[in-house]
Symmetry: C2
Subunit: 412 residues, 2 copies
């Protein structure tokens, strides 16, 4: 059985259990309600061929953290990865770390803020940054996948070191933000002495979908986002663009992928002052319906060849959807899985520090994200309203079978 | 009909509408499921004797913002308050600002990121800081309620100016964080030129309850928080401790209240290293059950006079619950309505910048919050694990009837 369908089945088991919790009325409830319940009570299996949190239907909330190793200590890294996987398996099942077997004279093994909450479809996804492979004491240089390279400077980059990079990453996604916070906080606690927190990012709302079962959400520009994303149901596209196969140069990365994150600040005050027609021409879609300009439905194909009577293209030459479209990028696609964020006030501008924490997965960052972003950074009309302030890339190893741990292939 | 019960009824109408949305299965669903639906689809009426967002059952998410006036311009302040109430009434009903009547050649009247989302029990609560009454050009000095004074220095304060104070505040609470963000963002947009954003705070999870219908949540220390809070159903306590009556010195504040906010940073790394017994003695409650030490149920009364065989009190002398208990504070109570937050990494400590954004409501901040906090700040065992880094106080005027606006009594 494929890991995807196995996770589905386990997810369905979670729905069943939730149904029972409703008591006598439970079995009278139709499919629609069962799905609504699943949104907050579901369980996503941690173990599998691929890590969860990539092809999993996008949960509502994110807590992302990047860590740096304290010492070049391979044994410590191995122990950490082992403990992290063990804790992740417990947390994703809604169990307390250590099973609640605390003694009063010791610190609790779990910090406790999720006691009584459901797992809320928690997924925890681990990754390794390029810098990890450059630490001489770890002797990991010969295990480095060729495709794992720090991203080159890209047009329009305004990156802050403090929101970029990292030796290790943890992506925690859940439908309850307290569950996602709890995961990162406990993994940081377990890592104390071995890793220090480099940066972290809370995402309050998903801006994409990875499943045909999900509605397309809106980003903070008020536009539907992710309409043309790869869907996990399209196994062929997942294998072609996302999952690493037997041809990968490092066997421990087989069934893994690569993740790129970009903290994209939106200049919302400028955007909000733009006339609707400009907003729509910037993106290339209608704001309310999400339909491509000149079409009527969100899922209508982009009319890239359609022209107005005066010969101007209906989808403007520098519009975001045209420049990002697979047809205009030699067929390149990426799997997007980003979140909206706001982090208080940008003091230099006295406006909300808000935008999109962009996350994408692909087989080859240089050939996919970098190639697409190089064109966007140069030509996209949207650049008037955004700036990329944080950036990172991580190798995402395959999932672990029960009894094994994520990243075992790297450190063994 | 009281505004409280009117809001309840309108809330129920929201549940009914949601039930219809479920189709044929809708009327087979029992009460429990209807309540679960209400959590995400309900509507809370903006208009009423009191502002909403005080006695409203605490929604899951918060976006709070403090603003400063750009100029001492009373006419501009009046216009702003009028526009804010109008927009708030539309947003809390789930309508787009301006009713969706946008023209393509102008900027949209609503930023659009909540199109397709439910109002998610959105409430928007407005307040006025002491500094507003000290701006000479506004000529508001004679309208200042005596009880509205900047908070005095309190023991243990480590306040940052940039996270404190403000001429005006907006508290937006909703069960969907995108809905709360949208409210603050659009009010900031409407206020452009009249106010600038001073600070803002996102809260990802409620840490209190204001209704007997709600379960007690856990704060980031993993402890149940708010067990002994005032409940809105206790009308006598609300009138005694929260709502201003006919005896208030400024008639425009009748049916209003005062809000105190404190950004309380939790030193979670230190807390997480404390043995369970110390955590429990610091608070005075069992961690998992929430029961007072020496008792078995969360809602058992605090056994303040109970002693161990050796004469030590069962609820330690410096425990948080003892020092905060009404009996130890001459009967003083406040209505708490706080939220957990995390705002990335505290760079000086390389740990999560996280804690409690404390909000409380009371008739007299000096006699209630300040008196209680003065003792807590001096003696509370919890001080080892927290620091107060932000502080503000606001006069919360009464609600507005339809056709009027919040704060009209101040600026007329």
């Amino acid at each position: 059985m494929s890991p995807l369908s196995r996770r589905r089945l386990l997810g369905s088991a979670g729905i069943g259990a939730a149904g029972l919790g409703l008591g006598g009325a439970g079995f009278l409830i139709g499919q629609e309600t069962a799905s609504a319940q699943a949104a907050t009570t579901g369980t996503v299996e941690f173990h599998g061929t691929h890590q969860a949190g990539i092809d999993t239907p996008v949960q509502d909330r994110l807590h992302f953290a990047a860590f740096d190793l304290v010492d070049d200590d391979r044994a410590a890294l191995r122990s950490l990865l082992e403990e992290w996987s063990q804790a992740a398996a417990e947390m994703t099942r809604g169990r307390r770390i250590g099973g609640g077997g605390d003694v009063v004279l010791a610190p609790p093994m779990d910090t406790g803020e999720t006691v009584g909450l459901s797992p809320a479809n928690l997924t925890i996804t681990f990754g390794f940054g390029p810098a990890l492979f450059e630490r001489p004491g770890l002797e990991l240089a010969d295990r480095r996948p060729t495709a794992l390279q720090a991203l080159p400077p890209l047009p329009g980059d305004q990156l802050n070191e403090g929101e970029s990079g990292g030796d290790l990453c943890v992506q925690a996604c859940a439908d309850d933000p307290q569950v996602a916070f709890h995961a990162v906080r406990n993994l940081a606690r377990i890592g104390r002495g071995t890793v220090i927190l480099r940066w972290s990012q809370l995402g309050f709302g998903r801006t994409s979908t990875t499943s045909r079962s999900q509605e397309t959400p809106r980003n903070l520009m008020g536009m539907k986002d992710g309409t043309a994303n790869i869907r996990a149901e399209d196994r062929e596209a997942m294998d072609r663009f996302v999952w690493l196969g037997s041809d990968v140069d490092q066997d421990w990365m087989r069934d893994g992928t690569f993740m790129v994150t970009r903290r994209i600040r939106m200049m919302l005050e400028v955007w909000d002052r733009a006339p609707l027609v400009d907003q729509q021409r910037t993106i290339g879609r209608e704001k309310v319906s999400g339909a491509p300009l000149g079409e009527s439905d969100e899922f209508d194909p982009l009319p890239l060849d359609k022209e107005h009577d005066d010969g101007r293209p209906v989808i403007p030459a520098r519009s975001h959807v045209r420049l990002a479209a697979a047809r205009e990028n030699d067929g390149r696609k990426i799997l997007r899985r980003g979140y909206s964020f706001t982090d208080g006030v940008d003091e230099s501008l006295a406006e909300l520090d808000a935008g999109l924490f962009f996350i994408c997965f692909q087989r080859d960052p240089a050939a996919q994200f970098v190639a697409i972003q190089r064109r966007l950074g140069q030509f996209d009309s949207l650049n008037e309203y955004i700036k990329h302030v944080g950036s990172a890339v991580f190798a995402i190893p395959p999932g672990a079978e029960p009894g094994r741990f994520v990243g075992e292939g790297l450190v063994t």
